[in-house]
Amino acid sequence: MEKKLIGVFAGGYPQIYKGSKYQFRQNLLAGFNADKYQDNGYFNLRFYISNEGKVWLYEVKEMDFDFNPTQFNFGLKE
């Protein structure tokens, strides 16, 4: 019999992965100074991750708030 998924995306925390968006935010903010940049928009990362932690098929998209393609400052992306 098929088993129901335990959880997906944000709803999978804390059953299927350690840590949370809290840590992600802390890590990001630790090396980020918003005052240095004027750019604004969505920075969209898409990827697959296997149950063994292998990550592949990256897609990176930079968009303004209307989802039009844009280019952020290189330092901001880094």
Binding site: E2, K4, L5, G7, V8, F9, A10, G11, S20, K21, Y22, Q23, Y42, N44, R46, K61, M63, F65, F67
Partner: protein
């Protein structure tokens, strides 16, 4: 012979592909409806909620080809893109659904902007518009009233005055029509959060008490915000007591969150409670 066979096959394929053109408009609409029932049935049977399989997307494309005004199918075509983080495609397809049936899908678009993209101004614009489209009816996209959602959106946008106005409007209406016990406890909790951020802290206990009463005391969020309230009053013993309760309930799963895709508005994480507890227990340690 070979050439004529190729011609025959290509004609056959061409006729096969365009069989829908032989149906009358009414027949096409009926056929589209039949296919739509299949899509719905597939979702009901699919325990993994895998919207966007090739099978379903193909069916949805067929439905739209048969009946370009099938607003539900137009909307459904957009959702897999939304859930997979492909907003450019989502926007094109969802806007087609809104154009097809604005009264039905405008509020939903606002809900998507609110939760998936945290675009509070676009969300508010859609919630306001759907309210104007149906003046004598309170719309409930995704099961909650637009007033409740507008409370969320204005909280996200840090427009606390309007957030309080819409949460109160929602609470008053539900209380009058159905009774206070039918109001989402989250409305009371979020009212307390708004008052906390708005620095009108003395209004917090009223709403936190209501939230704890309707959550039957099991609410890590309410306890966290009660701890923050007592912290502002300098009552460390009460803060620690509420934090303890908060951590306990958080670990048992009693905290505000959304089931799948995204974080709730002002969702808390247990780490925040632990950090606050450590700061109070070891005030000199950073």
């Amino acid at each position: 012979m070979e050439k004529s066979l190729k011609l025959f096959l290509s004609l056959f394929i061409s006729i096969g592909c365009n069989q829908a053109t032989f149906f009358s408009k009414e027949e096409k609409i009926a056929l589209a409806e039949e296919k739509w029932k299949t899509v719905v049935q597939q979702y009901l049977e699919d325990i993994h909620h895998t919207q966007g399989t090739a099978k379903t997307m193909k069916l949805i494309d067929e439905i739209i080809k048969l009946n370009p005004n099938h607003c539900d199918a137009l909307r459904e075509r957009s959702i897999p893109y939304l859930k997979r983080g492909m907003p450019q495609e989502w926007k094109i397809y969802f806007n087609q659904a809104v154009k097809c049936n604005s009264a039905r899908w405008m509020g939903w678009r606002g809900y998507h902007y609110l939760y998936f993209y945290r675009d509070y101004s676009k969300a508010i614009a859609d919630f306001d518009a759907t309210d104007t489209l149906t003046p004598n009816h309170i719309d409930t996209p995704q099961g909650h009233s637009v007033d409740f959602w507008r409370g969320h959106a204005y909280l996200g946008a840090k427009n606390y005055g309007k957030s309080i106005y819409y949460y109160q409007k929602h609470i008053d209406r539900v209380t009058t029509e159905f009774g206070e016990d039918r109001v989402e406890p989250e409305a009371f909790l979020n009212m307390a959060i708004v008052h906390y951020e708005n620095k009108s802290l003395d209004s917090m206990p009223y709403y936190l008490d209501k939230a704890l009463y309707y959550y039957q005391d099991k609410s890590a969020d309410s306890k966290y915000y009660y701890a923050l309230y007592h912290k502002s009053k300098g009552d460390t013993i009460k803060v620690l007591s509420y934090i303890d309760g908060g951590i306990e309930y958080f670990l048992e799963g009693y905290y505000k969150r959304r089931p799948n895709f995204n974080e709730d508005v002002r969702q808390i994480y247990v780490e925040e409670l632990i950090v606050l507890e450590q700061k109070l227990k070891n005030p000199t340690k950073r």
